[in-house]
């Protein structure tokens, strides 16, 4: 028996959201538990080891690897300046002296008497981790980072490109079925996060980038335009580190698809609020989906939380579902029946199916794996 799997994307009007803010290497956490922070605040910092440069010393000096140490002016661990002599030969005739200069400022990493190489390392590069969301430090992971917590509107989407971005949320269209056109991108949208409707094209994203828009949330997008945006065909869905100057999040899928009414309404209700988004997507084991976090300006406890729970029960008759594959892609309806026995579909495959009833009363038979459960 196969299990119907739904991605179970979370959509919540008001919920507790935690965010792990972790350094890539051990470092220093500079905030305390309980601190109330802004998204732009630094929570932890460290130094990434510098780039390593290799110098073929023996070739340059015309010596044997085993003799290299004798000619060194510096030893392992010593700091060096760019162009500073680090090794030299000692011939009788001074004119014949060869000197090896450091190509970088950094330290001597290793001196090899086997390969005759000197490895030099550039100075460490400082890196900082930001809070990313307005909220409270709930947990300190010593030397690693923090866990931020906030009460927020939280929306998981289906796909995104570009990393973290923070800005004020602006609804740039009238309805979820609208197309976000170039005329709708106004100079006033600098540093904002825009909500579009059903579709956006590459040239419009270009204009948004020129204006200085930080992020765009939209229902659908063409793969052809994604290729133009990235400059290559995206092969494996691991995104988030693209350097494209903007974060793009699509809520429904590829093609022109109206943004789910509920998602649109929820975003509209939070227009003007400070919003944190991340396009990072990883569709593999350990799925990561893009997220939209819009913190509420509340410091008190969450009361009367209205939150859509991730779907953790089986499907039942009457449940609302969205069909996620052609021929009914994007349509929303309710489960009319859930026949137990697998049935033959048009492809002649025998699979478990369900019957969906749409708002106009029409019905369709759909494989169970081709729907996702949604909340009303």
């Amino acid at each position: 028996m196969t299990h119907a799997y739904t991605p179970g994307l979370r959509i919540a009007e008001k919920t507790k959201v935690t965010s792990r803010r972790v350094l890539p290497l051990m470092g220093d956490v500079i905030v305390k538990k309980g601190d109330v922070l802004k998204a732009e605040d630094v929570v932890a910092m460290t130094h990434l080891p510098g780039k390593v440069h290799a110098l073929n010393a023996v070739n340059r000096l015309g010596i044997q690897p085993k003799d290299l140490r004798e000619y060194m002016l510096k030893k392992v661990g010593d700091p060096v300046q760019k162009d500073e002599p680090i090794a030299e030969t000692k011939p009788w005739v001074k004119m014949l002296k060869s000197v090896l200069h450091s190509p970088i400022t950094g330290t001597i990493e290793t001196i090899s008497t086997v390969t005759g190489q000197i490895l030099l390392r550039e100075p460490p590069k400082p890196i900082q981790v930001f809070a990313y969301v307005d909220g409270t430090v709930m947990e300190i992971m010593e030397k690693e980072g923090v866990v931020m917590e906030t009460t927020a509107t939280f929306i998981q989407s289906i796909f995104g490109v570009g990393g973290e971005a923070v800005g004020e949320l602006v609804i740039a269209v009238n309805t979820p079925g609208d197309i976000l056109t170039a005329e709708r991108i106004l100079p006033a949208y600098k540093d904002k996060i825009l909500v579009g409707g059903a579709f956006i094209q590459h040239n419009v994203i270009d204009k948004a980038k020129k204006v200085g828009v930080r992020g765009i949330i939209v229902g659908g997008f063409d793969d052809e335009d994604l290729r133009k945006l990235l400059g290559y065909d995206l092969g494996v869905a691991i995104t988030g580190s693209e350097d494209i100057g903007i974060t793009l999040i699509i809520t429904e899928g590829f093609g022109q698809i109206q943004m789910a009414q509920r998602t649109f309404e929820l975003l509209k209700s939070r227009a003007g609020a400070k919003t944190s988004i991340n396009g990072a997507t990883q569709i593999r084991a350990g799925v990561v989906r893009p997220e939209i976090i819009i913190p509420h300006n509340t410091t008190g406890k969450i009361s009367g939380e209205k939150m859509d729970k991730p779907i953790d029960r089986g499907m039942e008759v009457g449940d609302p579902v969205r069909i996620i594959r052609v021929p009914h892609f994007g349509k929303i309806g309710r489960i009319k029946s859930l026949p137990f026995s697998p049935q033959k579909i048009e492809t002649e495959a025998t699979v478990r199916i369900l019957e969906v009833e749409f708002s106009d009363g029409a019905t369709a038979i759909v494989p169970r794996t081709n729907v996702e459960m949604i909340e009303t």
Partner: protein, 600 residues
Amino acid sequence: MIKDDLNVIIATDCGSTTTKAILIEKKDGVYRQTFRGESPTTVEAPFEDVTRGVLNAFAEMEELSGRKILDGEKIITPAEGNVGVDIYVSTSSAGGGLQMMVAGAVKAMTAESAQRAALGAGAIVMDVIASNDQRLPHEKIDRIRHLRPDMILLSGGTDGGTVTHVVELAEYISAANPKPRLGMTFQLPVIYAGNKEAREKIKEILSKKTSLNITENLRPTLERENLFPARQEIQKLFLEHVMAQAPGYKKLMSWTGAPIMPTPGAVGLIMQTIARKNNINVVGVDIGGATTDVFSVYGEIFNRTVSANLGMSYSISNVLAEAGLENILRWVPFDIDESDLRNRIKNKMIRPTTIPQTLEELKIEQAISREALRVSFEQHKSLAVGLKGVQRERDISEAFKQEIAGETLVDMLKLDLLVGSGGVLSHAPRRSQAMLMMIDAFQPEGITRIAVDSIFMMPHLGVLSTINEKAATEVFEKDCLIHLGMCVSLVKGSIGKLQEKCISYKIAMPDGKKINESLPYGDLRVHPLSIDQAAEIEVLPTKNFDVGAGKGKPIVKKVLGGVVGIVIDTRGKPITLAKDKASRTEQLQQWAKAIGAYPD
């Protein structure tokens, strides 16, 4: 560890998304696969314990089979009546499988041998670092640091040969100070299988920063490869380090009666067993959602490659990126807008568990699969070159000749059996679709038998073969392998004009009936011959064409049946597709009709 006294065996494969369990029972002295159960794999949050998924799959199995397998969370052993099992075995590719980086002195020699050793052990090779790979030292170091493999295999130099290069590579690894993917607090396992003269130096450089393991040189001399010790060390470390760090695996390891194997390692074993037992050459493919594995066994020589990002769901978009839109479109038997096709592929990628509902969608997926299989097979053929196998002696001049020629060892004319596995092949609604996909993608030459894995159980049988080869082979032959039939094809380079006279053939059918027909160039025809039947075929090509014996020369051969039958294919090698869209779609429809691939 051979176990003969087994009557009830339960086996699982913990895949990245699904844990699949099968039950094997000995009935009337013969092992048969009787029930199967599956459940989502639970390596990730919120469960983070692989055994939950295994227990769920067992629970489904209990429901279906009526056999009580679990007492709480304990497997009941041994089997008595309808209670318990005699042994539990498992494979795993959960959490991304075994991801390795290999390093060798010379790219085309030790580095390539190291790559083959890692692939043969069931690993995904993330990168191959070599002294002469054209990258600058800091680029190599950056790469080693950023990739975060599960382990590194370092080789280089024949025994008594170069020390410098391999020491240089060790220095780069040391400078990168890489961390393992799982278990941040542990040191990264590094296997050294290079020049034995360099061992002390390697210890000096790497023993403090990594968990260094030294084994025999995998290329002791230029003309000899010795991959077995390195492969064993990889599998040992896979269990000790990688598996032990993955959530729940310590518990899982305590349940199994044989060491857990990486899934592709187990599939490779079963391929080798089949080739050895039947004394045949085998090519096998396992096309999954994320990766495609290709195996070949020619005589004593076994090769395995993995195309880590070619697959039908998670990696479907990468098939488009690697093969190109044109190549996919050429297999689509109807007109479709390019932008629409692109969006459909991406939508499958972002919702990988959906299945085609319409015939049109099925045809698109099967078109993409042809390219995923073709590109994976090309990658396999390009690595299955030069020196191969364990301790295979060969003349030095021959070794050089092979390197220069770069000739693949995968000779399609000498191939006896082509086996396909994985969802798109095993679960194709009609078996004829699987046969046509494999013929189009692999383009067999001469006469080749083609089969599919019925429900994806080759990994289970592979690990089972390590403790009971009889059980594994019996189930493989009776329940796993579905023979589709035999394909009679032109050999490589056979190109003609459409409808040109190409071959005539006679088939002596088992019921005494004689078929005496001819087939022009560019066509496909099927003669049914059921799975347990055999016939004799005589094929006479015209003077411009070759079916294996030379141009214009006839061949006579016994052919075995299958659920599809004997497929006579005169479409040329490579298959000649019309250039204009309308003629091409007409061709594709005609061929699909000839083999009965789709409903009318």
